[in-house]
């Protein structure tokens, strides 16, 4: 049985842990509030852009000579995966979920005989994949694989890198794996295919677009767009912008999700610490009382004997 001194030390250490976790929870809550606002406000731009381009792709159909960013290279052999995690841990299953989802995807692709490259964003994903698949990890020159404060520059850097790979035919399909921010408690690991645009999407999104499609179908059979200036020029301008916007949007959601996940994790950690303290205090008091009782008994029986 632990001595009183040991118990006291344990209680104190749990208490200071609790202080740390509850402080982290507060910080995460404040940060999440800001990050979520940013992400929420940036969302309409990204979704509208994606929607317009999807409509556009459908209305243009499969004509030859489409830009690679829209239609891909026509092959499905070289996959570029972009797992997005946070830079720091202590956020529950947030990063683990992304890493696992990406790893499953990688294994599936490798089994199918595809060539896979990984360009992680977020330090946790980078460290994980550097350990698991050291030969497959790539990244933009001078990039540090960190999410940082989520700026347009980071998205721009990654987007330029993807464009370069696409141009030099080192990549056919590009997919981002990120945590979709549903709410504070819930982040859903999601694979979003960026290139070619939007062929295999998550079930939910697919349903959304299906509904949308039905809606537009009843409205008018198929929107045939006019372009001003020429379609080539329009796409030339829109596609690179779309790539950046989609990446940024995913990064913003990751950022908000990270804080949300950390908040939830720290909340339950704080609660567990509280429970542990209660248990230890009870144990401590019982032990103390038992010690006093046994000492008393000794004194009394000693007095009786004398």
């Amino acid at each position: 049985m632990a001595s009183l001194k040991e118990l006291r030390a344990r209680i104190n250490s749990v208490k200071s842990t609790k202080k740390i976790t509850s402080a982290m929870k507060m910080v995460a809550a404040a940060k999440m509030h800001r990050a979520e606002k940013r992400s929420r406000e940036a969302k309409p731009f990204a979704t509208t852009m994606q929607r317009i381009l999807v409509n556009l792709k459908e209305s243009l159909g499969d004509r030859p000579g489409m830009p690679k960013l829209l239609a891909g290279t026509g092959k499905q052999d070289l996959h570029l995966l972009i797992p997005m995690s946070s830079d720091r841990g202590l956020a529950g299953g947030f990063n683990g979920n992304i890493n696992r989802a990406t790893r499953d995807l990688i294994q599936k692709l490798l089994k199918e005989g595809k060539n896979v490259k990984i360009c992680p964003i977020g330090f946790k994903a980078y460290v994980y994949f550097r350990g698991e698949y050291p030969d497959l990890v790539v990244g933009p020159e001078g990039g540090d694989h960190r999410l940082g404060n989520v700026t347009f520059e980071t998205a721009d850097q990654v987007a330029s890198y993807i464009e370069k790979l696409l141009e030099t035919q080192q990549c056919d399909v590009c997919t981002v794996v990120y945590n979709q921010f549903k709410n504070v408690m819930l982040q859903i690991p999601t694979a979003l295919q960026l290139i070619p645009l939007n062929v295999a999407m998550t079930e939910e999104k697919q349903k959304e677009t299906l509904d949308e499609k039905l809606a537009t179908r009843t409205e008018q059979l198929q929107a045939e767009y006019l372009f001003e200036p020429e379609p080539e020029e329009v796409l030339h301008r829109l596609l690179p912008q779309n790539l950046r916007v989609q990446l940024l949007s995913a990064m913003l959601e990751t950022n908000a999700g990270e804080q949300g996940a950390r908040m939830t994790a720290m909340d339950s950690a704080t609660r567990n610490a509280g429970k542990a303290i209660d248990k230890l205090s009870l144990h401590y008091n019982r032990t103390r009382q038992a010690n006093i009782t046994s000492e008393l008994t000794e004194v009394i029986s000693g007095a009786n004997a004398a």
Binding site: E41, P44, F45, I52, A223, Y225, L226, F227, E228, V245
Partner: protein, 138 residues
């Protein structure tokens, strides 16, 4: 006879309302979005969007490097920068223009043709912004 107009910037949805007509600054000339317009994708130059209800202009916004999707029943504008006219500041525009000219000279030295073309576009936008800011002030 109205359309649903939405103007979206990367930060937020700036406008979402019913209007009778919206005049957009297209890259190759102004175009009015009205009900029943043929679906169209339009690149925008830096300029002003006027919102019409009835015959009156109810609101005007400066937009920069954006594009618009028109449909029979609505019009969506996405732009990197969206500002109300009275938010434009002469000083900011002047400074922006000066900065751009500086970078243009640098790009000219390095013979970076593509960058130069980009900068010319941006300079035109800044010029428009400056003109608008001065005219609003008057």
């Amino acid at each position: 006879m109205s359309i649903q107009l939405e103007i979206v910037s990367p930060e937020k949805v700036v406008v979402s309302q019913q209007v009778d007509m919206a005049v957009l600054p297209g890259l190759e000339g102004d175009i009015a979005a009205m009900e029943g317009h043929v679906p169209m994708i339009l690149l925008l130059r830096g300029g002003v969007i006027h919102l019409y209800v009835g015959d009156k202009i109810t609101d005007s916004f400066f937009v920069e490097s954006g594009f618009a999707e028109m449909k029979e029943t609505g019009c969506t504008v996405l732009a990197k920068e969206v500002k109300k006219l009275d938010e434009l500041s002469e000083e900011v525009a002047t400074k922006l223009l000066a900065d751009l000219e500086e970078s243009f000279k640098e790009a000219a030295k390095g013979n970076d043709a593509e960058r130069q073309r980009e900068l010319i576009d941006e300079m035109q936008n800044a010029q428009v912004m400056l003109e608008l800011a001065t005219s609003v002030k008057k």
